[in-house]
Symmetry: C2
Subunit: 534 residues, 2 copies
């Protein structure tokens, strides 16, 4: 079919399909959207331009142009485009400048998201395109929410998980090391008070292996490892500084958040959090391991009531997936299924936990924490070829070599090498919660403990938290202290205390005399917990 | 377990769990978010307050308080809360005022959305809560996107569809009429040039039945019925005005958008559109019918390649669902599966279609349009108990009674009763597209036709559109005009012409000599069509 020029029009210039546009005056909103390129226009202008919320526009000013996501406001000044700071700086525009705005196509990756919604498997290139557009902030929150919901509901097969992991690695910083192997440990989280990393890293490094550990801060918990370590020394180190620390000590314990390792993950978390879904658990964790150059990693899967993983069967299934994904990425993975139905040790909250970890390294710590640390460390040493690895790990801890190594790391990261447990500042507002019964501790509700610690100010206020005085199986008599709440401000202590009164996080009784585990009313308003820690 | 007051704190006042808060200074953003209550705070303040994007906060000023959705900006002024206009007016605050901000719980409906994500069926109360929170703007776009994606992926059973429909009715305006039955027709859309409503409404009203028709404007198409009718008379009438028009003429043809009938739908569409999904087709259509008081409705399901419904099997399945949902809602539904593989009549675009509809009522219209209108009208008349309904409908159209009725309606709605087809203004920029081959018209690509009409300016520019000169099966010789493009502006005509050249929307050949229907390259960038019309 041929399209003949009619006598009615004279088409002399070459024209593009995108030449329909409008001119807008710039209104600077003075808000940074968080890297996403966004603009606001009035709904009537939007309808004239032919765009709707979440559509893309090309904005041209002088010789520069960008693609931005449209937000539509009602009763916004006409012929005016409200721009977030990122758009201003990219285009070099100021208030009152005139820009040209063209409707633009949605990114190709949106079509792939739709494919997944409609049930098609995505290939590696398609997944890469989606992840890249997430990192480049080319996808709107609506689109990312739909993608993550679809991943959750439809599930992902191992090819997709591998592709997601690789894409998350490739869109971020990748660390390279001269010496190998690189060892690592990771917990999928879900159990409060888990300061095991603060012991495992020094044990492994003291055994002569390299373990450059990056950790996250708490998202929904009372303390992340980075929060805990920060009570001992700075954790916000640059890549250069990290290399120096690792060179000196064979280890580090730093915050990974600013290192741009698998940055897609942080952007996904922003949308997963309000939805309380976590469809990217495997790629999220393993992409960070790959980016940091890990060769051997032990993954801790805390299991049981009150954790992410409720049954050993589930844990085994997840473990197989971690191992298979590791194979595909060239990382040797072993998993530890650990008991997670009560906090590890007694302390919950950044400073309280740092104190407990230091005490344990100094020989005066709780047995469960010691046992967990020795087991995880010895698994790693065994993977790296150490014979009698359990004895070795135990010896390193018992003889103070692990403590010495921790102090080296603390010093190298800019902390006080000679820090004593009592130097670690904890909240000076304290409330004790006592038992009103005689009996045994039957259970400790992890989530309630976390909520109370957070109400007290953790993790932001490092000195806030909970110090348990009892664990499951302990005998108590009426009047015994069950736990202490620490806070930095009276107001927060009051809130936490009130919450403790409401939640009653520790169950006391004779064995088997509490048969009802949960009561579900006909018209339930169920309180649900969501643990988003990686 | 009893929580005993410790000597360390003195709890004298009653305190609530929500007493942790911060004070913020108000920064008025001067933007209306579109009813949603939103505020912006800096990420460091957010982390102190313990909230993340999409979390809720309670904002208190003097004796007023509201719950708003938090958006987090980077490098926003500290201790400052950016407020959209809706928040200002609800709280009565101005720039510089100091407000108290408390973390608040997410709405209960979010837990139900999560239930659906996790695979649970929702009951009527839960669905009502979600729809109500959508209408009250208590759910963020992320949450609505996740809900709609889940509905699409998991599907909805008839109980859920019924509950969605009822909830959408109950959260909006409901019309009541003194006279019954109320008749109605609806097309699920997807075929261009479908101006059938402009004929069916006058035929049915001329037969003595009440048919107060509300229509939508185009979303993704070249013209909605409201856009078409607007070329004849005003369509943006108040409820009072509609009652008057219906009283005088037994009918109306108005825009339903401002009547607040099932308002949830418009809010869902804002999120469905960027995602190109349409999980609420049934409740969306039927809730509007219920809200307007419909007793009998014929639903037109245009079927075939290039429409929403590809096969007659699919159409029958959807028809059964419409009929069952109608039963549950107390509406008698019949469905018509109609041929949708090419435009109805020859005209595409608001004014061109209005002109063709008027010509058809005046006895000089295309046979397919006449046939469709007579069939749909006679189905409705039969449902209402009219004998020989087809003869009756045909007679009303042929004798000019339908034309007369249309003119009554046009006059009652404030238009010119004596309007002639040539009075309807169409674009004065015209391009003709001619065939370069001899042969038959084998196919007409609906979507391409729509895209070209939209590129020419439809539906916003009412005079823009396409006038076909051939339909499927017509013989053409080289040089014959296939279609004309009309536009109001040269620039848009040029764009549309270029798009026509690229898309080649009409296939000419000898029967069976074009065997390849579509070519799919290895690395496909597939252009996909999405029809979101209800």
């Amino acid at each position: 079919m041929h399209l003949k020029q009619s006598p009615y029009i004279f088409v002399e210039s070459l024209f593009s399909l995108e030449n329909w546009h409008m001119k807008f005056k710039v209104k600077v909103l003075g808000i940074e959207a968080g890297r996403k390129l966004m603009v606001i226009i009035d709904d009537k202008d939007a309808s004239l331009l032919g765009v709707r919320t979440s559509d893309r526009v090309k904005i041209t000013y002088k010789d520069k142009s960008i693609i931005a996501i449209v937000n539509i406001a009602t009763r916004f000044p006409r012929n005016t485009i409200g721009v977030f700071d990122e758009v201003c700086s990219k285009l070099g525009i100021e208030r009152g400048d005139e820009v040209e705005v063209y409707p633009a196509k949605s990114p190709e990756s949106l079509a792939y998201i739709r494919d997944k919604i409609f049930g098609y498997e995505l290939n590696a290139q398609e997944i890469k395109a989606i992840v890249k557009d997430v990192v480049d902030q080319n996808l709107s929150d609506i689109e990312i929410a739909s993608f993550l919901t679809t991943l959750h509901v439809r599930g992902t097969n191992m090819d997709e998980i591998e592709a997601l992991s690789r894409a998350m690695v490739e869109t971020g910083q990748i660390l390279e090391w001269e010496d190998h192997p690189i060892l690592d440990k990771h917990s999928i989280g879900g159990v409060p008070g888990d300061k095991t990393t603060l012991l495992v890293v020094p044990i492994v490094a003291a055994a002569g292996f390299t373990i450059p550990k990056t950790s996250s801060r708490a998202i929904t918990s009372a303390a992340g490892t980075a929060d805990r370590v920060e009570s001992l020394c700075p954790v916000n180190l640059s890549l250069e500084e990290i290399r120096d620390v690792v060179k000196k000590t064979k280890a580090c314990m730093v915050w990974g958040g600013a290192l741009d390792l698998a940055p897609a993950d942080d952007l996904f978390i922003q949308v997963e959090y309000p939805l309380s879904i976590d469809p990217l658990l495997l790629p999220s964790i393993m992409s960070k391991k790959k980016a940091i150059g890990t060769d051997y990693v032990v993954i801790d899967l805390p299991t049981g009531r009150g954790t992410k993983i409720k049954t050993i069967g589930e844990a085994q299934h997840l473990a197989r997936n971690f191992i298979e994904l590791g194979n595909r990425l060239g990382i040797k993975v072993e998993c530890a299924v650990t008991f997670g139905e009560q906090p590890i040790g007694f302390a919950i909250g950044p400073a309280l936990e740092a104190r407990e970890a230091l005490q344990t390294l100094m020989g005066k710590g709780p047995i469960d924490l010691q046992d967990k640390a020795i087991n995880l460390a010895s698994m790693l040493l065994e993977m790296a070829g150490v014979d009698s690895s359990r004895d070795k790990a135990t010896e390193i801890l018992r003889t103070g070599k692990a403590e010495e190594k921790l102090r080296e790391i603390v010093a190298a990261q800019g902390g006080n090498q000679y820090i004593k447990p009592e130097d670690i500042g904890i909240g000076d507002k304290v409330a004790k919660v006592v038992s009103n019964y005689d009996g045994k501790v039957l259970w400790i509700n992890n989530n309630d403990i976390v909520q109370i610690a957070r109400e007290a100010g953790a993790p932001k206020e490092k000195g806030a938290g909970i110090l348990l005085k009892v664990k499951i199986g302990n005998e108590v008599v009426k009047g015994d202290v069950l736990f202490e709440i620490y806070a930095e401000r009276s107001q927060k202590l009051e809130s936490a205390f009130a919450l403790a009164e409401k939640l009653k996080p520790i169950g006391i009784g004779q064995r088997y005399d509490i048969m009802i585990m949960s009561r579900i009313p006909a018209r339930a308003k169920q309180e649900r917990t969501f643990i988003l820690e990686r």
